[in-house]
Amino acid sequence: MEAFGLLLHGFAVLLTWKTLALMMVGLVLGIFVGVLPGLGGPNGVAILLPLTFTMDPTSAIVMLSCIYWGALFGGAITSILFNIPGEAWSVATTFDGYPMAQQGKAAEALTAAFTSSFIGSLVAVLLITFLAPMISSFALKFGPPEFFAVYLLTFCSFVGLGREAKHKTVISMSLGLLLAGVGMDTVSGQLRMTFGSSELLRGINFLVAVIGLFGISEILLTMEERLALRGHAASISLRVVLSVWKDLPKYWVTLLRSSFIGCWLGITPGGAIAASFMGYNLAKRFSKDPESFGKGRIEGVFAPETAAHASGTAALLPMLALGIPGSGTAAILLGGLMVWGLNPGPLLFVEHKDFVWGLIASMYLGNVVGLVLVLTTVPIFASILRVPFAAVAPMIVVSCAIGAYAIQNAMFDIWLMLGFGVVGYVFKKIGIPLAPFTLALVLGNRAEDAFRLSMIGSGGDLKVFWSNSLVGSITTLAIVLLFWPAIEKVARRIL
C-alpha cells in the first residue's frame, strides 16, 4: 500500500491551478499534432520540448505527457474519418473504424476509439502504479533471443490468425521485409540496397510509407468512384456516447485481452505497434462472427485502440525505470528528463519521488480530462465529414505531404509517399492486404537485428530460442499460431 500513499502525494503535487492549466494546454496541442498525419506524438513533443526548459521538471513533464495523451487520442480521429493513421499504432484502427465512418457511424467509431484508449491507458497506469519495481526486472530478462521470439510471435500470429488468403499475407509481408532492409545494416555496418543514393541511406521511413499506403491510396480510390464519398449526416449527441458506453460490458473480454496484450508488449520495448495489430487479430480470431471484421464492426475499433494505448502507456515504464524508451515519444521524453537534470534509471524512483509520482498522477488526471475533452469535441471532428469530398481531398493531400516532409525534413519523402500511394492503390485493387506489409516494414529491421545478435551470441545455434522457459514458451507459441489453421483442423477431426 506504500504505492497508494505515494500516489496521493503525487496528486497533491499536481492539484494547483497552474498545473491544471498546463494540462489543458498540453492536451489541446496534443490533439492538434495527433490529427495531422505523420506529425504525431514524437514530432509534436520534440517541437514543444524547448518550451518547457524554463519550467520546473514536474510542470514540464505534466505538460509534455499531456501532449502525448492528446496525440494518442488525436491519432484515432484521422484514422477513422479519412483512413489515414496519424500514428503507426493507429493503423489497425482504420480496419473497422473507417468502414464505420462510411456507414455514417463516425460518431460511434470515434466514441469507441476514445473510450477504449481511455480504458487501455487506465489499465496500464494501474499496472505502473502497483507493479513498477517488479516490472522493471521483467524487462531486463529480454535479450536478443527473447526480442526475436516476440517479433516472431507477431509475424506468425498475422499469418496464422489472419482471415486473408495465406499466400497473399506472406507476399505482402515479404515485400515489407525486403524494403525494411534498405539502408545501413547495424550488425555488419554496411549499406544495403541504397544503390549509391544518399536519399536511401536512412532507409524507408515507416510513417512515410503508411501515409502513402493508406491515405493517398484512399484518395485515389475515392477519385475513381467519381468523388462518391460525400457528406454523411454525422449528427451525434450525448445519446450516441451513452449508447456506445451501454454496450461496453458486452465487450469486456476483448477489452481485457487487449489491455493485457498492450501492457505486456509495451513493457517490451518497441511493442506498441505490434500490440495494436495483435489485439485486433486476436479479437477477430476469437469472435463468433469473424467475417464481419473489416466491414465496420465496433469491436474492431475497441480491440486495437485498447491494446495500442495500454502499450503506449506501459512503454513509459521501461523509460523511467531503465532508461530504455519503449516508443519514439518516450525517447523524446527521455531527452527532456535529462535536460531537466533527472537521470532515468533504477534510482529515479528512489531519488526523485516527487517527480515520478507526480508524473504517474498526471497520467490519471490527463487521461480523464483528455477523455472529456475529446468527447465534447467529437461533433466538431465528425462534422468534417459533411464537407464535400472535392473540398476535403486537396486538404488531406496537403496535410499528408506536410506530414511526410516533417518526419525527416526531406523532400524525397514526399515522392516516396506518392509512390506508396500508388502501391497501396494497386494492392487494394488486387486484394493484397496492406497490414502485413506495414508490420514487416516497421518490425523487419528489429527482428533481423535480434535474430542475428542471437546467432552471434550462440555461435549459430538455433537452440538458443528454447534456452530458457521465457523464450522457449514465446517461440513455441509463435510456431503454434503459425500453423493454427492446420492444428485446428486436426484437432476437430480427433475430437
Binding site: 531486463l140 545501413m184 547495424t186 555496418g189 536512412r202 535536460v339 533504477p346 552471434i456 555461435g459
Partner: protein
C-alpha cells in the same frame, strides 16, 4: 528573406533563422544529451537571439547526419555535433564524406571509454581476462554499431590479452548498458555517460578506463567510488588507449564571419555552469580547440583512427 541572405556578410554576423544542432545519433544517446545541454545552456543564458533546435539525424548509424551536413553547403544555420564517426564511417561503409569539406568550429570535449562488467562478474581486469580465456563459449561484448569505436576497442582488447570476445552490435549505448545489466552480455566498453545510472544503482562495475591517465573527477559517484578511483587499463596491464572527440562543425563554404560567430558562441557555452556541470557529471574531459589548433588535432586524430581501423581490418575495400 532573399535579400537578407544575399546581403554581403558583415562583421558581427548573427543567425537570422533558428539554428539547428544536428545530432548524428539516436534520441537519448551521448550526442543527443550533449546537444540538449547546449540548447539549454544557450537559451537559459541568452547567448543567441534566434532559437536553437536539436534535430536527430541518426539514420544509417549517423551517416544521415553527415550527408545532411554535406548537402547543406553554405547554410550557416546548421551545426553538427560530431564524434569519431566522421573518420570511421567513410572508411567502413564507403560513405562519400570527408570532414575536410565541412567548416570546423571547435572541439568542445573528449569522451572516455571504460571497460565494464556486470557487478556479479569478475572484480578486476586480471580476473576478467582470465574468465574470458577460460570460458568455453566466446565471451560476449556488447557495443554500439559495427566497425566503430566500441568494436575497434574490442579487437585491441583481444590482441593485447589473447582472450576471445564475440562482439554484439546494438543500436545504442543505452541498449548495450541494459543488456549488460540483464546478463545478456558479459561486458561492454560504454562511455561513462551511457553507464552512469546503472553504475550508481550498483548493477555494473567499471574495471578500467582506456586513457593514459585516470579521470580527474574525485567527487563520489556511488557510495564508495568516484570516477578517479577507476584504474587505467595500462595500470592493470592492458595497454589500450582511446579518446573520442566531441566537436562542432558548420557546413562547407560558410563565410569567416559566420564561422567566427559560432566559435564565439561555443566558447561562451564552455563557460556556462550547465556545461561545467555536464562535463563533471558525465566524466568528459573539458577541452577547447579552434582554428589552426583544431585542424591540427583533427588531422592527427584522423591518422590515428585510420591506422586503428586498418589494423582492426575494418576498412572496406
Amino acid at each position: 528573406m532573399a535579400l537578407l541572405l544575399s546581403a554581403p556578410a558583415f562583421a558581427g554576423w548573427e543567425p537570422a533563422k533558428p539554428v539547428e544542432i544536428v545530432v548524428a545519433a539516436g534520441a537519448g544517446g551521448a550526442s543527443d544529451q550533449m546537444a540538449r545541454m547546449m540548447q539549454a545552456a544557450i537559451q537559459k543564458n541568452n547567448l543567441m537571439k534566434q532559437p536553437i533546435v536539436v534535430s536527430l539525424k541518426g539514420g544509417a548509424s549517423g551517416a544521415e547526419a553527415l550527408m545532411y551536413m554535406k548537402s547543406g553547403e553554405g547554410d550557416p544555420n546548421k551545426v553538427l555535433i560530431a564524434y569519431s564517426l566522421i573518420y570511421m564511417l567513410p572508411l567502413s561503409a564507403k560513405i562519400p564524406f570527408n570532414w575536410r569539406e565541412l567548416t570546423p568550429v571547435s572541439v568542445i570535449a573528449l569522451d572516455q571509454f571504460v571497460l565494464w562488467d556486470n557487478s556479479a562478474g569478475p572484480k578486476t581486469v586480471k580476473e576478467f581476462v582470465a574468465a574470458a580465456k577460460a570460458a568455453s563459449a566466446p565471451f560476449k561484448m556488447g557495443g554500439t554499431g559495427s566497425k566503430r569505436e566500441d568494436h575497434v576497442l574490442t579487437v585491441f582488447l583481444e590482441q593485447k590479452t589473447g582472450a576471445k570476445f564475440s562482439y554484439l552490435p546494438y543500436k545504442s549505448g543505452g541498449e548495450a548498458a541494459t543488456q549488460l545489466v540483464g546478463n545478456h552480455t558479459e561486458s561492454n566498453v560504454n562511455n561513462p555517460s551511457e553507464n552512469l545510472e546503472v553504475w550508481r544503482a550498483g548493477q555494473v562495475r567499471p574495471l578500467c578506463v582506456f586513457d593514459k591517465e585516470r579521470i580527474a573527477y574525485t567527487s563520489k559517484v556511488t557510495d564508495t567510488q568516484s570516477w578517479a578511483d577507476i584504474p587505467t587499463c595500462k595500470e592493470e596491464g592492458v595497454d589500450v588507449q582511446y579518446l573520442m572527440l566531441r566537436a562542432m562543425f558548420l557546413p562547407g563554404k560558410v563565410t569567416p564571419e559566420q564561422q567566427a560567430f559560432y566559435v564565439e558562441l561555443f566558447h561562451k557555452v564552455t563557460q556556462t555552469a550547465e556545461y561545467k556541470d555536464y562535463m563533471e557529471k558525465q566524466a568528459l574531459k573539458p577541452i577547447f580547440l579552434t582554428g589552426k589548433d583544431m585542424v591540427q588535432f583533427l588531422e592527427e586524430d584522423d591518422a590515428t583512427n585510420k591506422s586503428l581501423m586498418t589494423e582492426a581490418g575494418f576498412v572496406a575495400k
